[in-house]
């Protein structure tokens, strides 16, 4: 017999619960707690993985960023490229499937090499590419691509958005200076939730 059933039979017997008990723990709250218990226990496995969160962030950045008029932004696709780490690329494909931002179909694309960056709007650089980072950044420097990476100090090295792990959560830093160079503008809403903003006129957050 579950506790809820026990309560129910108790109610049937006594007619009504003592007022104090009801005040401290109303029956419907108790039942709700009991119902939620299995969900909470399962939370560990059901919780989005780090990769999933990163994929969602990559997709959501597109909603807060404006690309310069001459870039690939005018096409009917918004292309998110992933350099290295096929795992993220695969997850991202699932995330963006059927999604549009400003009437542009969002597409995920795994980059085999740096030559294929022409159509990219967003490029994620996997930590595995840390060794070639400077080369990668200089290669895409003038292509108007929003560069994102989870490589530590990515923004200090000229990257635009850097994922940081903070208290079990994934957050990000923003470096406005390279964005300004290529004409990418970012919504203040995005800056609001960034842990650090470099090159903001009002001062770093």
């Amino acid at each position: 017999m579950s506790l809820a059933e026990a309560m129910k039979s108790y109610r049937l017997k006594s007619g009504r619960l003592p007022d104090l008990w009801r005040t401290i723990c109303p029956p419907h709250l108790l039942i709700a707690c009991l119902c939620l218990l299995p969900v909470a226990l399962r939370g560990q496995e059901n919780r989005p993985t780090e990769t999933q969160v990163e994929a969602a962030y990559l997709f959501n950045f597109g909603k807060f960023v404006r690309w310069p008029a001459n870039s690939a932004s005018n096409s009917e696709y918004l292309v998110i490229c992933v350099l290295g780490n096929n795992m993220l690329g695969m997850v991202l494909e699932g995330t963006v499937k059927g999604e549009t931002i400003d009437n542009r179909t969002v597409v995920a694309k795994a980059l085999p090499n740096l030559q294929a960056t022409a159509n990219c709007n967003v490029m994620f650089v996997n930590a595995s590419e840390e060794a070639h980072l400077d080369a990668i950044l200089s290669a895409v420097r003038h292509q108007g691509i929003l560069t994102v990476s989870d490589i530590p100090h990515f923004t200090d090295r000229g990257g635009m958005i850097e994922f940081v792990h903070q208290q079990d959560r994934i957050r990000f830093k923003v470096n406005l200076l390279p964005m300004a160079d290529v004409g990418i503008s970012v919504s203040s809403e995005l800056l609001k939730v960034a842990t650090k903003v470099i090159g903001q006129s009002g001062g770093a957050k």
Binding site: V53, D102, R171, F172, E189, L190, K192, V193
Partner: protein, 502 residues
């Protein structure tokens, strides 16, 4: 300002005025309240909705990039709006993402569901307005905003309105009172004047009074005019009536004078006739007396009897003439008033009667009555007539009782002469006092029917009344009063009633 009297039309007008303005104002206030409540609630919802939208759009990045702190910061901006007691950002799976609760307010208990196909819903509770809005970003739902506003400001607003309305009502009632006091007079004053004049007329019967016509030719003015015309009409009729009455009075006076004159002439005539008749009868009586004395022995018995008959008739004729002379003397002679002792008068008459017929057994019961003011000669004649009457009509009885006394009725002294003799038929009462009317045949009780007529005249000359009660063979009682009753109006009809009852 003094209030008009309770039943005055002015008071009614004032009351009406105040009632109307009070009712109108109350209704207007109620309508305004209702309208204000509705619009205020609507505007409250609009305001909350706008706030929810702003908060929602400011929280999009926080939700998308999982930054509850940012959302909490956004929510904390609500501190500045005092009516909002709680707010929250909820994720799509209805879990709280960030919440804000004003100090001293309850936490958010549950998130109301938004109906399908809608972006927003609100719910008015007894003390709160709860609004939930879906946050949509780039065409996709992102989360929910929950805002709860305290409705106590509505109550406060209502209280403020109520106090204002009460004040306005009070002021307008005072204004209505003032207005009806100032302008009501112009309407009611002519009516009040009219009422006063009418009351004055019905009290003083002064039909020469007139109501003052108002300045306006309204219905009241017409009423006043009609009233005044009616008064004029009444006055005219009064004058005519008085004229007719005076004419009638004059005519009556003249007729009475004529009648009196004719009556006096008639009485003078009958007096002189009676007087002149005495001479021949005297001669007749004298000569028959001489005839019976001188030639009695030369005549046979039959002739002597005839002569005696002639003498008897002559004596009766003489008596009749004397009575007639008395009767006319009663009306023509001057009254000489002096205190008269009726009891001793009755006593001496009774003695006379006894000596006249000593063989009869009659008991006289004579009470002492107070002296009365009157003409002694006439009053003696009156008592003589009544007692002689009683004496005569008891003659058929072996024993008889004759009473004289007085009684007081309605403050008036009434004398009576009572006998237990032949009495009379009560139906013939009205004929008793008419001259020459007799209720009994002369053979039974001799008489000429003038005595009671004389008695009545004597009583009337003294301003009194005479009446009788009686039944056949059960005696008769004659009542008379001398002075007129103190108040003519109250006793005279009672007397009439008594007489008709006889």
């Amino acid at each position: 300002m003094p209030l008009p009297p309770r039943r005055s039309i002015l008071r009614k007008l004032t009351l009406l005025n105040m009632l109307v303005s009070g009712a109108a104002l109350t209704l207007a206030c109620l309508a305004f309240f209702t309208y204000d409540q509705v619009t205020f609630r609507e505007s409250l919802v609009h305001t909350l909705s706008a706030q929810a939208e702003i908060i929602g759009s400011n929280s999009v990045s926080a939700i998308l990039f999982n930054d509850p702190q940012s959302a909490t910061n956004t929510l904390s901006a609500l501190k500045s709006s005092h009516s909002i007691t709680a707010a929250g950002i909820f994720t799509l799976d209805r879990k709280p993402f960030a919440t804000y609760t004003r100090e001293g307010s309850d936490a958010i208990v549950n998130l109301p569901a938004i109906p399908d196909g809608q972006v927003e819903t609100h719910r008015f509770g007894s003390a709160h307005l709860v609004l939930v809005r879906l946050i949509v970003f780039h065409g996709r739902p992102v989360g929910f905003v929950y805002i709860r506003a305290d409705l106590s400001q509505i109550d406060e607003r209502l209280k403020r309105y109520a106090s204002i309305a009460l004040g306005v009502l009070l002021i307008s009632l005072i204004a209505a009172l003032l207005v009806s006091y100032l302008f009501g007079r112009s309407v009611a004053q002519p009516i009040l004047d009219l009422a006063n004049v009418a009351a004055g007329i019905s009290q003083n019967k002064n039909y020469s009074a007139r109501a003052t016509p108002g300045k306006d030719a309204d219905e009241v003015g017409q009423l006043v005019t009609a009233f005044n015309e009616m008064l004029t009409e009444i006055q005219q009729r009064d004058v005519e009536l008085r004229k007719a009455h005076d004419e009638l009075e004059d005519r009556v006076t003249q007729r009475t004078r004529e009648l009196l004159f004719a009556n006096r002439e008639l009485e003078a005539f009958s007096y002189s006739v009676s007087h002149d008749l005495r001479g021949p009868i005297d001669a007749l009586n004298g000569f028959t007396y001489v005839l019976s004395k001188e030639y009695g022995d030369k005549l046979d018995k039959k002739a002597r009897d005839l002569i005696e008959h002639i003498r008897g008739s002559g004596k009766r004729m003489m008596q009749l003439i004397d009575d007639l002379l008395n009767l006319s003397r009663v009306t023509s002679s001057q009254l000489q008033a002096e205190p008269v002792d009726l009891s001793s008068m009755a006593f001496s008459i009774a003695e006379d009667l006894r000596q006249g017929q000593p063989s009869r057994q009659v008991e006289f019961v004579i009470s002492q009555v107070e002296k009365v003011n009157g003409d002694a000669r006439l009053l003696r004649l009156l008592l003589d007539n009544l007692l002689r009457n009683a004496w005569k009509y008891t003659s058929a009885h072996q024993h008889a009782t004759i009473e004289f006394g007085s009684l007081v009725e309605n403050g008036r002294v009434i004398y009576f002469v009572r006998d237990d003799g032949a009495g009379f038929d009560p139906r013939s009462t009205d004929r008793l006092f008419q001259p020459f009317q007799r209720l009994h045949p002369t053979a039974e009780f001799p008489g000429n029917g003038i005595g009671l007529a004389t008695a009545q005249r004597i009583v009337r000359r003294h301003g009194g009344d005479i009446w009788a009660k009686g039944e056949v063979e059960k005696g008769a009682t004659f009542y008379f009063s001398l002075a007129a009753p103190r108040s003519r109006g109250s006793v005279a009809p009672a007397n009439d009633a008594e007489q008709t009852a006889l």
